[in-house]
């Protein structure tokens, strides 16, 4: 592998991947948190129990999640075009990645909130705390540790998605590995991309684990 030509390209690819993954995690993290909380609180017997809303959100989540990302990337083309103004490039990729990730985040958030002891919610209700305040000051803090672990897990999934973004000209490590490595029969280049991704994921996992450990005090 020729570092003088490949090195700068690898650095650019790392930058592109980091950009796509972090922007997607911020957008999908917030929007997904909203839908995850909505899924949780509208469950039967919960704070805002509503069969209609719960079923509707579940339906959408279950509809989008099984679509393979590479197909979603193509299928959402017209929508991406009308929102972002182009079907190509990083922002177009972030748009589609965010949509796909929102539903994954929503599920993970819902599952982690289920671990909150209903008795604690009942205690807050018995104090006359308003429902929005129960969500923000009781439910989310009580589930914070598992939520951090859940988001850490999702970073890996989003990194996986970002590797396909090369298909719509967004660059990134996936594009680097496929175009400069695989297609040119340059296995060293491919493996360089693999090594970088492993290091990145390990770093994220390490930070996530230690944050969760600190929050959960164990």
């Amino acid at each position: 592998m020729n570092w003088s030509t490949m090195g700068p390209q690898l650095l650019t690819a790392i930058g592109e991947t980091l950009y796509m993954v972090s922007v997607t995690m911020i957008i999908a993290g917030l929007v997904g948190l909203f839908f995850g909380v909505a899924l949780y609180v509208t469950r039967p017997g919960n704070l805002y129990a509503s069969r209609v809303v719960n079923t509707a959100i579940n339906l959408v989540v279950n509809f989008v999640r099984p679509i393979p990302f590479i197909i979603l990337l193509a299928a959402l083309g017209p929508l991406t075009d009308s929102v972002i103004g182009t079907r190509l490039g990083q922002n177009a990729a972030i748009f589609t990645m965010s949509i796909a990730a929102v539903f994954a985040v929503a599920r993970i958030v819902e599952q982690n909130l289920m671990s909150v002891d209903p008795g604690v919610v009942e205690a807050a209700r018995s104090m006359g705390v308003s429902r929005p305040k129960i969500i923000t000051t009781v439910i989310l803090p009580e589930a914070l540790g598992p939520l951090v672990l859940g988001y850490t897990f999702l970073v890996i999934g989003v990194t996986d998605m970002s590797a396909m973004a090369g298909a719509i000209g967004a660059g990134g490590l996936g594009d680097f590995a496929l175009r400069l490595g695989y297609q040119r029969f340059n296995d060293e280049v491919t493996w360089a991309a693999v090594a970088v991704i492993i290091v990145l994921v390990q770093l994220v996992q390490f930070v996530g684990n230690s944050m969760a450990r600190k929050i959960m005090r164990r």
């Binding site: 008795g119 009942e122 018995s126 006359g128 705390v129 308003s130």
Partner: protein, 360 residues
């Protein structure tokens, strides 16, 4: 905190005390399952009762009797299906979750499983309701210190719930429930997860909260011992209904229903059961009678005059206890002698109290 309630344990809210919680024909029905499996379960059925300001009111019953649901109807955690519930002059039934909030701020609650916030320290748990009630920081700090002192956990302020024992957790629960100075404290099986020593400690705190702050305590339990320790009045629940209600001493001395008798029997075993009776009959030399003992019933004088007439008596079973200044209990006597004299002794006892002949 100043209060018009005296510290004397003997001065309790009487018949004329103001009603703070009123149930009128309150019913709660749960619907379970759907479609063909749909079933209606009535947890609380047509309950009417009055809880007086400043008293400790016990609700006893077996699990599934509906007592947990009943107590949750007071703060609207379980809305009534029909009937009326009034708390401190406010109508509780018919309110939405949001409308219930102001009523709930005057009602503290403690739970069997404590339900402490695991993400907050001991001090953080106690402070939480004060933050929500909008107290400023300095006032909150002072109040938290005062409460932790009250429950004896000052040194544990910075600990997290998982570092505490069950009894300590419940004491945090009590401090948290009392934080915003409620008028009523609901205790839902608050000692059922605790050992006997810790139970007494927690009951002691509830009694002090009642005496020192004049707070009305509604306590549900399946342990008659708990009721006997602190309740002024008690309601006995069975299958969703209140089948008996009255001053604790009255329920203990003269239970009217089979359920109440069984509960009383769990703590005061003063009359022989069938097996014990069979054993006593075998060794009886005369006539076995069970005599109820209450204040003003002078069994002794009857027995001494019986002895003068040649009736030989032995006390073979019994127990007498004092509750809320009243004695009650029963004695099982074996009376031997001239049949005529024994007959007359039983008749003389019968004029004083309830006498039951249990063998010939």
């Amino acid at each position: 905190m100043t209060s018009t309630v005296t510290d004397s344990p003997l001065s309790r809210p009487g018949e004329d005390a103001e009603v703070i919680v009123r149930f009128e024909n309150a019913t709660k029905t749960f619907v379970t399952g759907k479609g063909k499996g749909r079933r209606e379960v009535t947890a609380v059925e047509d309950v009417s009762l009055n809880i007086r300001r400043g008293e400790i009111y016990g609700v006893i019953g077996y699990s599934g009797a509906g007592k947990s649901t009943l107590v949750r109807m007071i703060n609207g955690l379980e809305p009534a299906t029909s009937g009326k519930i009034q708390v401190d002059g406010h109508q509780v039934d018919g309110r939405t979750e949001d409308q219930l909030a102001p009523v709930r701020r005057d009602i503290g609650m403690i739970f069997q499983q404590f339900n402490l916030f695991t993400s907050r320290t001991v001090a953080g748990n106690v402070e939480y309701p004060l933050i929500r009630a909008g107290w400023d920081k300095a006032k909150r700090k002072a109040r938290v210190e005062e409460l932790l002192q009250f429950v004896g956990l000052t040194e544990r302020a910075g600990n997290y719930p998982e570092q505490l024992s069950g009894g300590q957790k419940q004491r945090v629960g009590i401090a948290r429930a009392l934080a915003a100075q409620p008028k009523i404290l609901l205790a839902d099986e608050s000692t059922s997860a605790l050992d006997p020593d810790t139970t007494q400690e927690v009951l002691g705190l509830l009694r002090r909260a009642n005496r020192e702050f004049g707070i009305t305590v509604v306590l549900i339990t399946h342990e008659m011992d708990v009721v006997r320790s602190i309740a002024d009045r008690v309601a006995v629940m069975d299958s969703g209904r209140v089948i008996e209600e009255g001053p604790t001493a009255r329920i203990f001395s003269a239970p009217q229903t089979e359920t109440a008798r069984r509960f009383v029997g769990t703590v005061s075993h003063d009359a022989p059961n069938a097996e014990e009776l069979a054993h006593l009959s075998q060794h009886s030399r005369g006539c076995l009678v069970v005599v109820d003992v209450r204040d003003g019933v002078d069994v002794g004088s009857v027995l001494s005059s019986a002895a003068a007439r040649g009736v030989n008596f032995r006390i073979v079973f019994g127990g007498v206890s004092v509750l809320q200044k009243q004695s009650f209990g029963s004695l099982t006597l074996d009376l031997a002698g001239e049949p005529q004299a024994v007959e007359e002794t039983i008749a003389a006892l019968g004029e004083l109290t309830t006498v039951k002949e249990v063998s010939a």
